[in-house]
């Protein structure tokens, strides 16, 4: 019994040590994907950008994230110009490859969320801004963006929760995140259930924390 407890404690410690990797990957992908999504939605408002954004979203939303990670980590690395170019230190790093795949994939989903929110901003709100002489930039900053973010928040929160869980796929390209550590421990100990449960608990804590935070922001915005 005490041996069991000691095993659980050691496993928990190992998993918590890997937590920063999962956190960094989640946070950096969330930032990257959100910024890229904003660019995509801005591009959608222009004649040249619309088809490009459309293709981007079509491809990254329509293919599995796991394959995207494999392609970035194994596929791109096989390309001569990358392998022998200045970017090689980046593409050699599995964490960077996981970040890139997550950013591209999630940007497509978040762009869809933002696009829907933009379409849902009531015309009257925008017309009131036009009517008093606000230029396009002022309108976007003072009226359209705040309205849009408020409308997007619930669905955007969902995407972030999905993103956190998706970071676990990074373990398949050798990133030693929470899931990666769990797999290593299992490989040595052959104990599956308790290790996966511990790892799952970590993701649960992360997503629960995020959900609570988003709920508070939502309430603050609702007034």
């Amino acid at each position: 019994m005490s041996e069991e407890l000691a095993f659980l404690a050691a496993t928990a410690l190992a998993i918590v040590r890997a937590l920063p990797i999962t956190l960094v990957l989640s946070l950096s992908s969330a930032i990257g994907a959100s910024m890229l999504a904003a660019v995509l939605v801005a591009a959608q408002q222009t004649r040249i950008g619309r088809p490009l954004a459309h293709v981007w979203i079509f491809v990254f939303r329509g293919t599995p994230l796991l394959l995207q990670m494999f392609m970035v980590y194994y596929g791109v690395a096989a390309l001569g110009p990358i392998r022998h170019g200045v970017l090689w230190p980046l593409f050699r790093d599995p964490l960077f490859c996981a970040w890139l795949a997550l950013t591209c994939c999630c940007s497509a989903y978040i762009a869809e969320v933002l696009r829907a929110a933009l379409a849902a901003v009531p015309t009257g709100q925008i017309e009131a801004a036009k009517a008093c002489g606000m230029g396009r930039g002022t309108r976007v900053r003072r009226v359209i963006m705040p309205q849009m973010l408020r409308l997007a928040l619930p669905a955007y929160g969902n995407e972030l929760v999905m993103l956190i869980k998706s970071t676990s796929l990074a373990s398949t390209i050798t990133v030693v995140d929470v899931t990666g550590v769990a797999q290593l421990v299992i490989a040595h100990s052959y104990r599956t259930i308790e290790v996966f449960c511990l790892a799952a608990a970590v993701y649960l804590a992360l997503t629960a924390g995020l959900t609570a935070l988003l709920r508070r922001i939502e309430r603050g915005l609702a007034q």
Binding site: A128, K130, A131, C132, G133, M134, V143
Partner: protein, 253 residues
């Protein structure tokens, strides 16, 4: 002769094959209160929205307090505004009060009122806030500065919207059925406020179905029918026995 604030010539507008405005000329002098009357679908809202270019006319010229945003036409004859800067300058001289208020829901009452002075006219925020407080008092909404639009009744929202419109001291105020979305008992408070604005010499164009208000407050009544001005004149004339038969028929049904 008083200053001409609005000068409109030859406004036309079609939606697809449907000609909604078929050539409208109108002048307004400072202090004019023009009531625009007409049946549903006659083009009143479209006309009003063409004046601040929320709707782009197909042709015609609009001059407001010396500002104009000329139209140019491409090879297919489609109109567009040549200079977006001129468009915003023209709009900045006007203010619009909407049927559905359209207060910005993500801003407090105070922020709604200071937004245009601060972000369009570059007035320092503190100065704009002081003026906003005075305007709130004027529209009977003192003490509501920190409220959110959704916490207010329709009549209160419309009075705040009027304060927002006054905040930039506009040369021309456009009202599109400002009381049509209100409960009957709230209509009075908004009409009284508009009457006060008329008395202080504001130049206003008001699309309305409130005939008594048009008769008692306006300096001129304009009857729009099928996208043209069918007749116009001072209310005493328009509501008298010598008005055009078409307008009398409109009034009597």
């Amino acid at each position: 002769m008083t200053e001409t604030v609005l000068r409109v010539r030859g406004i036309t507008k079609s939606f697809g094959a449907r000609a909604v405005l078929r050539g409208i000329d109108l002048d307004a002098h400072r202090g004019d209160v023009i009531a625009i009357l007409g049946g549903s679908g006659s083009g009143k809202s479209t006309f009003l929205r063409c004046l601040n270019l929320l709707e782009l006319p197909d042709a015609g010229t609009i001059e407001i307090a010396g500002a104009a945003a000329p139209l140019v036409h491409d090879t297919q004859g489609r109109a567009r505004i040549a200079d977006p800067r001129a468009l915003n300058d023209l709009r900045a001289k006007t203010a619009m009060v909407f049927q559905n208020f359209n207060l910005w829901t993500h801003m407090t009452v105070l922020d709604n009122i200071v937004a245009a002075p601060v972000h369009v006219h570059g007035v320092p925020r503190a100065e704009a806030a002081d003026r906003a407080q005075a305007l709130l008092e004027k529209v009977g909404m003192a003490g509501f500065a920190a409220h959110w639009p959704r916490q207010l009744s329709g009549g209160q929202q419309q009075r705040v919207a009027i304060a927002r419109a006054l905040a930039t001291d506009p040369d021309l105020m456009l009202f599109d059925e400002p009381t049509s979305a209100l409960d009957p008992e709230r209509v009075r408070e908004v009409l009284d406020l508009m009457r006060a604005l008329a008395d202080e010499g504001r130049t206003m164009l008001i699309v309305t179905h409130e005939m008594a208000f048009a008769r008692d407050v306006s300096t001129r009544v304009v009857h729009v029918r099928d996208g043209v001005i069918e007749s116009m004149g001072p209310p005493a004339l328009m509501f008298g026995a010598d008005a055009s038969p078409v307008f009398r028929a409109f009034l009597s049904h």
